[in-house]
Symmetry: C2
Subunit: 202 residues, 2 copies
């Protein structure tokens, strides 16, 4: 059976976004693990799929490839409940997806990368105080948005929730204490409760 392929790393939140959406949509796909830490995204073969040299990459049955986790989410979610039909709601979903990539992931995911993957005396550990400060700013924005709504946009989960869940739920790996963010913690539990949910690294 010919299936779409996802090239990814099991530990990556950006790749997990795609796994989670595929599971929620109950769509079959092939997973190819790429070892980005040991040059797997810098081979000629991989760069032909994504010149930027990053996972995840979605490869369709006919060989066409798409990069950027949040673009892949939108593509896969079209005509599903996870991408609103309403034009204004869709615009808000995009707003949160861009927020995630600009103001959330570069701090919360990068802090996690440094803490999990680099030695205790690695010079990049000096970046952590700034990453924590900026990451907490992003978490405060999420807390404010979720204070009086169940999901980021509208009353049902969308790809915005999937994208923001990916690194928020493992923020403690990067040294973030989520206990002050009650609404965020309730929302994390709500996402975990969506039928079909799969955990990171499953």
């Amino acid at each position: 059976m010919n299936l779409p392929t996802v090239y990814g790393m099991a530990i990556s939140g950006n790749c997990y976004k795609i796994q989670l959406l595929m599971a929620l949509l109950d769509r079959p796909y092939r997973w190819v693990e790429v070892d980005s830490a040991h040059g797997g995204t810098r081979t000629q073969e991989f760069l032909a799929r994504n010149p930027v040299g990053k996972v995840p990459v979605l490869e369709l049955e006919d060989g066409r490839t798409l990069a950027e986790s949040n673009a892949i989410l939108c593509f896969l979610a079209e005509d599903s409940r996870y991408l609103p039909e309403d034009r204004w709601q869709r615009a808000q979903v995009l707003q949160w997806l861009f927020f995630e990539q600009y103001s959330h992931e570069p701090y919360i995911a990068v802090a996690r990368f440094i803490c999990l993957m680099l030695d205790q005396d690695h010079p990049r550990r000096s970046e952590l105080p700034r990453l924590l400060e900026r990451g907490h700013q992003a978490l405060a924005i999420l807390e404010q948005q979720l204070a009086n709504r169940p999901y980021l946009v509208g009353s049902t989960p969308s790809v915005a929730d999937i994208a923001l869940f990916a690194y928020t739920h493992v923020a403690d790996d990067g040294g973030f204490d989520l206990s002050p963010y009650a609404a965020v913690r309730d929302w994390l539990a709500r996402v975990r409760g969506i039928p079909g949910f799969v955990p990171l690294g499953a």
Copy 2:
């Protein structure tokens, strides 16, 4: 006459994206200049429009607000020639919009900000070598994509071109020499030639 309002800074490439698309679509709007360098995005009034405290913000006639330049572009371009109808092409447009915010703007726009706005002896100038290195990586990706096509996606300009044009065409402000990027320079000229084009700061 009631019009949508754009809150922005004339010098900002992210805000210019909206000005350029509005001009190309020949849509009337109101511009409110916000002095982000002097706290204009940190007032209670502004944060009510965008809690993230960034320009641009689009405010509709009924008061609803939308942040994130590339989300605003997609919202405004729907049902126009600048957002493809074809699902795959639209996915590629999103791919380039996320590339812009993650792998291009944080280097090319930030280098420009440091060079234009900060003193000669400002400590952030030490970031410039890394910003230049990463920015050139982004320019090389653009050069590769544009080597054999007129625009980033398909055969006509889209919001992907508008978003990437915004900071690429002023990359020299941040110390980037565009002379090695022939395809990028041809593409910049092509964008400038679109009927209705307006320059940054007009």
